[in-house]
């Protein structure tokens, strides 16, 4: 049996410098960014006073995110909804890319860790902005000063756990589907041995059902969870 599970392939090097590889993840991210940009321009092209068709869809999506941000983070946080929408859409399309013969961008820790670090900077910035630098440093000494190392650790654990959760879910799905595809090929060669080697009839059906869970459901779920957690953490930093 020959199952290959690899990280993203390196396609080339930027400026011929071996320290700057262009990976599959980067290429797919660029494709997805171009797609989202195209979608934005297409949906808001020739807007009218009374929305209909594609414009109604765009307005519905924007209103939905605005409502979600307001109900989770409280009044006056509308400025965050573009960031939340960006996170949600890049996560969703990045994960769903696996339906179109591309390696999903979120099955790479670099992508999710990048997003989590942006969120971490946002959390820290809001904590300092609303509590003052003194209040921020004092927060580490709660409830007593002995807890300071643990508080620092829990602060660092936020971006790590956020990125690992998203990456682990997508990469776990990738590994499980690949292993099952390999196993089904072996089974099909053993049971239906009279067929040529590269035809695996048993690979029809079951992987589709698994893909429905591991690609579609998990992708939507993780996009929602990642943006919900971002909203919860940033809202908490503003209100504390």
């Amino acid at each position: 049996m020959n199952v290959e599970i690899n990280g993203p392939k390196i396609l080339g090097y930027l400026f011929g410098n071996t320290n700057l590889p262009i990976t599959e993840t980067m290429r797919n991210s660029w494709i997805i960014m171009a797609f989202i940009l195209f979608l934005c321009i297409f949906l808001t092209h020739r807007m009218q006073k009374i929305p209909k068709g594609k414009q109604a869809l765009a307005e519905k999506a924007v209103l939905m995110i605005d409502g979600l941000v307001e109900s989770t983070m409280g009044e006056g946080c509308q400025a965050f909804s573009p960031y939340i929408m960006t996170l949600m859409m890049s996560s969703l399309f990045g994960s769903l890319a696996s339906l179109f013969w591309m390696r999903s961008t979120t099955a790479d820790l670099n992508t999710t860790l990048g997003w989590a670090i942006i969120t971490f900077v946002l959390i820290t910035f809001n904590k300092i902005k609303y509590g003052g630098i003194k209040g921020y440093l004092k927060g580490f000494l709660e409830p007593i000063f002995v807890m300071a190392p643990l508080n620092v650790l829990s602060e660092i654990a936020t971006p790590v756990s956020m990125s690992f959760r998203h990456f682990g879910n997508m990469a776990g799905g990738l590994v499980i589907t690949t292993l099952i595809m390999g196993a089904l090929k072996v089974l099909s060669n053993a049971v239906l041995g009279f067929l040529p080697d590269n035809i695996a009839l048993l690979q029809i059906g079951l992987p589709g059902v698994l893909s429905l869970y591991f690609d579609c459901f998990t992708a939507c779920m993780q996009a929602f969870i990642f943006s919900m957690l971002t909203m919860a953490y940033v809202g908490d930093a503003r209100n504390s």
Partner: protein, 85 residues
């Protein structure tokens, strides 16, 4: 014995044992979902809020299991010990 084979075998065993951590999140998530069901039964009009909070809580509980999964994946596909022999 070939030390590489020994390390590879032990790593596979370790990956399997790391995934025992899947027990905890399973129990915790099941408990959370059960409690959410009974809460919805008591207060059906708050279904949206309850579901959202439950999903967030489940995601938090899941992270311990995900850590174990990441450790297992590292041991299987990016093993740091095999290269030392």
């Amino acid at each position: 014995m070939d030390p590489k084979a020994f390390v590879a075998g032990m790593s596979a065993l370790g990956a399997g044992m790391a995934m025992i951590a899947g027990l905890g999140p399973g129990i915790g998530e099941g408990y959370a979902a059960g409690q959410a069901c009974s809460a919805i039964g008591r207060q059906p009009e708050a279904q949206g809020d309850i579901t959202r909070t439950m999903i967030l809580g489940i995601a938090m509980a899941e992270s311990t299991g995900i850590y174990a999964l990441v450790i297992a994946l590292i041991l299987l596909f990016a093993n740091p010990f095999v290269g030392q022999f």
